[in-house]
């Protein structure tokens, strides 16, 4: 198994199909993603390419197909080319992001209304949802926010990769993905109960509860350490939340 991403190496046998990169025709192997096809055609990426794994939002692409009035969208790194597709990437879209002091927020809907008053310019046209390459229900989370339901908006927007395509199509000029980010942070910090066990553990660490055990481990010779490691008690894969180990000396 030895393969780099040099497209031509594994794709030499594949059938070539025409695609139009920003209106210009190139013949590329039909099995490539848009990203690899653009590189195959001879482009060298600076913008428009990030994680190459479908999560960073750098390579959002819009395209049309012959005989189809609809605009299609996809991530260049995840979408396979189609014959005669007519595409461009949108590596950046100017959208307004408000700055706010997060420590002064408490998770009230009014806070979002104040920070992003443009929320109410949404005309519910649904163009944002249609253009989302991640199938996020953008209009629905905006609607939830208009009703003050931050939690619902946070959940609906969870898969957002912040590519900005929603904002590019919005006739109300909303920066949906920035608003959703604020909603998720408020949800995480204020609308979800804090983890009590976490507070306890942090307090115990600050009180140096584990220092003796760690000092002992640090001073151990490798053989003893290996033995201690191998003899450590394993929590069974199917154990429930309340499982406790037999040895609680170092808890």
């Amino acid at each position: 198994m030895s393969t780099t991403e040099v497209a031509v190496k594994t794709e030499i046998e594949a059938k070539l199909i025409p695609i139009y990169i920003m209106g210009k025709k190139y013949e590329v192997p039909e099995t490539l993603t848009i990203m690899k096809a653009i590189e195959y055609a001879g482009y060298k990426y600076i913008r428009g390419c990030g994680c190459r794994g479908g999560v960073c939002g750098a390579c959002s692409t819009v395209y049309r197909k012959p005989g189809d009035y609809k605009i299609h969208v996809g991530l260049a790194c995840q979408t396979v080319v189609e014959p005669e597709m007519y595409l461009t990437q949108i590596p950046f879209y100017p959208a307004i992001r408000s700055t706010y002091d997060f420590t002064r927020l408490s998770g009230q809907a009014e806070e979002i209304f104040e920070i992003y008053p443009e929320l109410f310019r949404c005309v519910a046209c649904n163009a944002c949802t249609k253009v989302c390459p991640m199938d996020v229900q953008v209009m629905d989370y905006i609607a939830a926010l208009k009703q003050g339901d931050i939690k619902k908006a946070a959940e609906l927007s969870f898969d957002c990769i912040q590519c900005g395509l929603c904002a590019s199509r919005c006739m109300g000029e909303l920066p949906q993905y920035h608003i959703a980010q604020l909603a998720r942070r408020l949800n995480g910090a204020h609308l979800t109960p804090p983890a009590e066990h976490l507070k306890t553990m942090v307090a115990n660490i600050e009180a140096s509860r584990f220092n003796d055990g760690l000092t002992k481990l640090k001073a151990m010779d490798t053989e003893t350490l290996k033995k201690t490691y191998q003899e450590r008690e394993m929590e069974p894969a199917t154990a429930g939340e309340d499982w406790t180990p037999k040895d609680n000396q170092y808890l």
Binding site: G53, K226, Q230
Partner: protein, 556 residues
């Protein structure tokens, strides 16, 4: 593309043994974990142990150290730009702390430096947040559940995963600061998966003795990254971000302290001088070097630039002889090749299964052991599954998860991967995934201490660019932890240094001039330049026709 008929036929074999494997799992009858001796024996199948794959370094502070050719190539190389051409009297940007790298470690460092009174510039090669952090799926380890876990057990697991070679102080800091990092992220509004009462959900990862892997569905890294990035954007009065401008050299001053960096604006092709009182290196890893020709899970900019810059400035490297191959990268469909399938699938119960439908290894061994077992199964035992593009893979039996935890679990817990495969016409709740090890993590890096400092005064570091924390092999969930623990520490230490120790002085690139001479004298440069900055995927056919194009290394 969906599975072709031939693979569908082989999937039937997996299905024929699935019920029995699920039953065994329910009864806790696992394939036994390997003993340390068995682990040692199987590691000979690991790419790190292929001697032809590496060579001795001929220049720099680690002369004589054997590392992978691809890594040696970028260390035995000259600077991108002639240092004599750079006018250091013309300062383009001046700041307290310069953070090089805009991923999780860099952003955490920027936040802490700012909180401790510094003005910060983040210089990053791509966009802020385009980093491996964003891609980390599985989770972040921390001993947060005191009724069954503590930093003591986390420490043991980290050491065992790293073959007991890790630097103890670095591990101690990692595990004792871990819960505080989760608490910090929670306070910033990071949406970790929780039970209704607020208890954090945790699962096992390879090599953990307690379930301490916290997660945010299957996009943990993305959720963490977008949260800290959002916070950095709120502090834009003090934290400026310069995108598409990687650092190509560190700048020292007449006292021999680190005092800034030369940036290269990838779009305008200018070289720019940043003067800083302290520098935090947070450039991440090296996947795009494609060590030993392996596919990689890493983002487009993972070319180990920070190692090159630090090494030239005299900072030693350690543990670079080991590279982590994630056991489970997609090998089919071809267009998703190299993409990581989080270990959480295995933590949730999915077996690794060969062409006969047999489980051949416990799916929760440390990563190097797991990867070696997969390579042995495919290459030595010839029990791999042939793909339509002539490669071999192993089944990761994801439908088991729904059978163990209820229908709908796969779709709910792994939404990212579920959608990705659905687009290819594969339902991973019903059909297994075809995987093979993929280049994932640079275990080693620049030497540093538990306060985030390096031997070069004024240079701090956090995250994957540093070596020693994970020894020879990192466990799942400890890289997201590493970037946050050491990113925060580096940021604070840098700000403290700015206030108490930084000395103003004349800027210098003398160390680069000397390094270039050393490369020439050793006769090893072969015309190479570094840092690489971006990989080159232009085909040879196109290159042959680019008659007037000029490449500086891999950049046109």
């Amino acid at each position: 593309m969906p599975y072709p008929e031939e693979l569908k036929r082989l999937i039937k074999v997996v299905e024929s043994t699935r019920v029995e494997r699920v039953e065994r799992k329910k009864k806790n009858e696992e394939v036994p974990f390997m003993s340390l001796e068995e682990r040692h024996d199987i590691l000979k199948y690991h790419p790190d142990f292929i001697e032809e794959g590496r060579r001795e370094l001929k220049v720099g502070p680690n002369k004589g150290y054997r590392i992978a050719h691809e890594m040696a190539d970028i260390l035995e190389a000259k600077s991108r730009v002639d240092p004599a051409k750079i006018d250091l009297s013309k300062i383009d940007y001046e700041t307290d702390v310069l953070v090089i790298g805009g991923g999780g470690a860099g952003t955490a460092a920027a936040l802490l430096a700012q909180e401790n009174g510094s003005k910060v510039i983040i210089a990053t090669k791509l966009r802020h947040g385009d980093a491996n952090t964003m891609m980390a799926e599985g989770g972040i380890q921390a001993a947060t559940k005191g009724h069954k876990d503590s930093p003591y057990f986390h420490y043991l697991d980290v050491m065992g995963g790293g073959h007991f070679k890790n630097k103890p102080e670095l591990v101690e800091t990692l595990v004792t600061k871990a819960p505080d990092v989760i608490k910090w992220l929670e306070s910033l509004g990071c949406n970790f998966s929780k039970f209704p009462d607020g208890t954090l959900k945790t699962i096992h990862g390879g090599g953990t003795c307690r379930k301490r892997m916290h997660f945010a569905a299957d996009i943990t890294g993305a959720e963490m990254m977008r949260t800290v990035r959002d916070e950095a954007r709120n502090r834009n009065k003090d934290i400026a971000v310069i995108e598409f401008s990687p650092a190509v050299e560190l700048i020292l001053n007449e006292h021999g302290h680190c005092a800034g960096a030369v940036l290269y604006n990838l779009e305008t092709e200018e070289y720019l001088v940043v003067k800083a009182k302290a520098v935090v290196m947070a450039t991440g890893g090296c996947g795009r070097l494609h060590v030993q020709g392996f596919m990689t899970t890493n983002h487009y900019g993972a070319t180990a630039d920070g190692i090159v810059l630090g090494y030239r400035a005299g900072v030693k490297v350690c543990f670079l002889h080991t590279v982590q191959y994630h056991p489970t990268g997609i090998v089919f469909p071809e267009q998703a090749e190299g993409i990581l399938i989080t270990e959480k699938f295995r933590g949730s119960g999915a077996n690794l299964v060969n062409i006969d439908g047999r489980q051949f290894v416990n799916e929760r061994e440390p990563r190097d052991v797991e990867a070696s077992a997969i390579i042995r199964e495919c290459i030595e035992r010839n029990k791999g599954i042939p793909t339509p593009t002539g490669k071999r893979g192993i089944w990761l039996d994801s439908p088991m998860i729904d059978m163990l935890s209820g229908t709908g679990t796969v779709q709910r817990e792994f939404p990212g991967k579920y959608i990705l495969y659905k687009r290819f016409g594969i339902d991973i709740a019903k059909e297994p995934m075809l995987i093979y090890p993929t280049l994932h993590y640079q275990n080693g890096g620049l030497e540093f201490t538990s306060d985030g400092a390096t031997e070069l005064p004024g240079l701090f570091l956090g995250g994957e660019v540093g070596g020693g924390t994970h020894g020879e092999n990192r466990l799942m969930g400890n890289s997201l932890l590493d970037i946050m623990v050491y990113g925060r520490i580096a940021g604070k230490s840098a700000a403290d240094y700015v206030r108490t120790k930084a000395q103003n002085g004349k800027l210098s690139l003398e160390h680069v001039i000397k390094y270039n001479q050393e490369v020439d004298e050793a006769g090893v440069g072969n015309g190479r330049i570094a840092p690489m900055l971006l990989p080159d995927y232009t085909t040879p056919e196109i290159k042959a026709k680019q008659l007037t194009a000029r490449y500086e290394g891999t950049i046109r």
